[in-house]
Symmetry: C2
Subunit: 334 residues, 2 copies
Amino acid sequence: MSTVPDDLPEARPAALLRPAGRSRPARVLFDGPERVWEAYRDTLPRALAEAGVLATVSRDLSPEETDWIVYAPGGRITDFSPYRQARAVLSLWAGVELIVVNPTLTQPLARMVDPGLTQGMVEWVTGHVLRHHLGLDRHIRRTEPRWEPSPPPLATERPVTVLGLGELGLACALALTGLGFPVTGWARSPKDERRLARVFTGRDGLAPALTGAEIVVLLTPLTRLTENLMDAERLRLPRRGFVLLNPGRGALIDDAALLAALDEGQVGHATLDTFRQEPLPPDHPFWSHPRVTVTPHIAAETRPETAARAIAENIRRGQAGEPLLHLVDRRAGY
Amino acid sequence: MSTVPDDLPEARPAALLRPAGRSRPARVLFDGPERVWEAYRDTLPRALAEAGVLATVSRDLSPEETDWIVYAPGGRITDFSPYRQARAVLSLWAGVELIVVNPTLTQPLARMVDPGLTQGMVEWVTGHVLRHHLGLDRHIRRTEPRWEPSPPPLATERPVTVLGLGELGLACALALTGLGFPVTGWARSPKDERRLARVFTGRDGLAPALTGAEIVVLLTPLTRLTENLMDAERLRLPRRGFVLLNPGRGALIDDAALLAALDEGQVGHATLDTFRQEPLPPDHPFWSHPRVTVTPHIAAETRPETAARAIAENIRRGQAGEPLLHLVDRRAGY
């Protein structure tokens, strides 16, 4: 995955958006792979109609005809510059690191904030945190009769650290807090978030946020500042034998450093949902490592029903001259 | 496990308790197995001191010397009748089905309500519900590289039924509701509980409570009305392939009927923490069944620190002439 370059073209300010004429339907270009199109070809027009937006959705529009671009990686557009009429590019993905680096993109870019995706992420994170906290693998894998009661500590005695307090990270941190875990959060920029046990921010806050954690959850966006965030040095900060969960982005982890820390015992288990290369190649050591669990990028799938509603709401806003939701800060990278 | 007989001696009414003289310390007899005593020999006197109760705790008191009995199954007392001075029997266990059937017990009986135990139960239930909901076993057991993304439905689409809405059942039902599951609750007696999606009560409410459930959690007390609650007929009510979780009591399930329903496919998986005989005998078919997970009665361990505080509070109340907490209704059996 490429690092975000230091220089990006400025996006056209969203403030320049004007209400569209009411006379003709908005023309929405859907740019994404076939299987994604199949999920949206009915749901998106339905969501637009439900939002009261007069619009047509198509995969075949010339740049001149295109008012809006709904985008998922793997489609046809590599050069966004001919799409001068396009009011914005609306990403179907929450992570926009693949498109934000495209120098031809000058249109405003909105990322997906899908309540279904957030809920799915909360479930994946809560499920795997509880799985490791309770030591479920032992019981799930056991094949011999062995009655050895050793109750786990309570959640209140299990410090968890969540890196990233955006839409997804904060939702997960709050769900874990609700179950009794003392949760430490970390975010790049200062946050006034008092519902968590502790919050650290900025570069200097990383070390105190990680120190002493027994479970670490990676949910920061991938930017040039967070690539290889979990390197050999930072992997040493949590408690020995800690569990690392990565439902965020593969490149947040230095893979070689993680494998070394697993073999050495500093990391007790890693449960990974995202990888530098996906699908994870069959010969990658993560597949066979006894203390790595691979899940195939399922932690947070965008759900067509709820995602289509989010896209429709942004198009409705744009057509009505209202500011778009979830615009990407191109320099920050998310 | 024996069925509760229809006729039980009446307990001495708790109202007859009188404040003790202030001159001498209350004498507390600890009756339970050695390993339990080891957990409480320091914590209980400390909790009593912290509660401001003047008391001594001992394993060796004559019946005449005994003011209070702290009880765990597996101790020395089988005949409670000589303990005429004992103000109450305070159980260290939440489930009192082993002692409530003892015809020599005429003292008031209080069961354990331990906040640590409740919290542990919520964690076990939430962890296993999420495990089954998310299909974690597939990823945990996988040994071959296989990238097959198939995201689970959201919790909002997974109906869960909790049988039993006492201290433990209600806490679990609310935690699952908080994570988005539509939870149906069932209780023996009418409940005005509006925080759950649906509540059914009484004998007639069982069938509608179970019908359509995808995950069923057993947390009713064991009484003559609930023994074999999940028999062949009731196992047919939830959705085909449903998951059964039993952190309650082993005898709530008809074991043979469950094994038949597992083999036939009506039950997709059973995760069991309690059994008719514990430890579960090594030759029991539950150990080797591919769709049964055995956990060794760890869902809710009484935690000495918090349980000792609960006992101390009840002794403080009794000594002060206040009504005891969590008295058992001997006829209902809990």
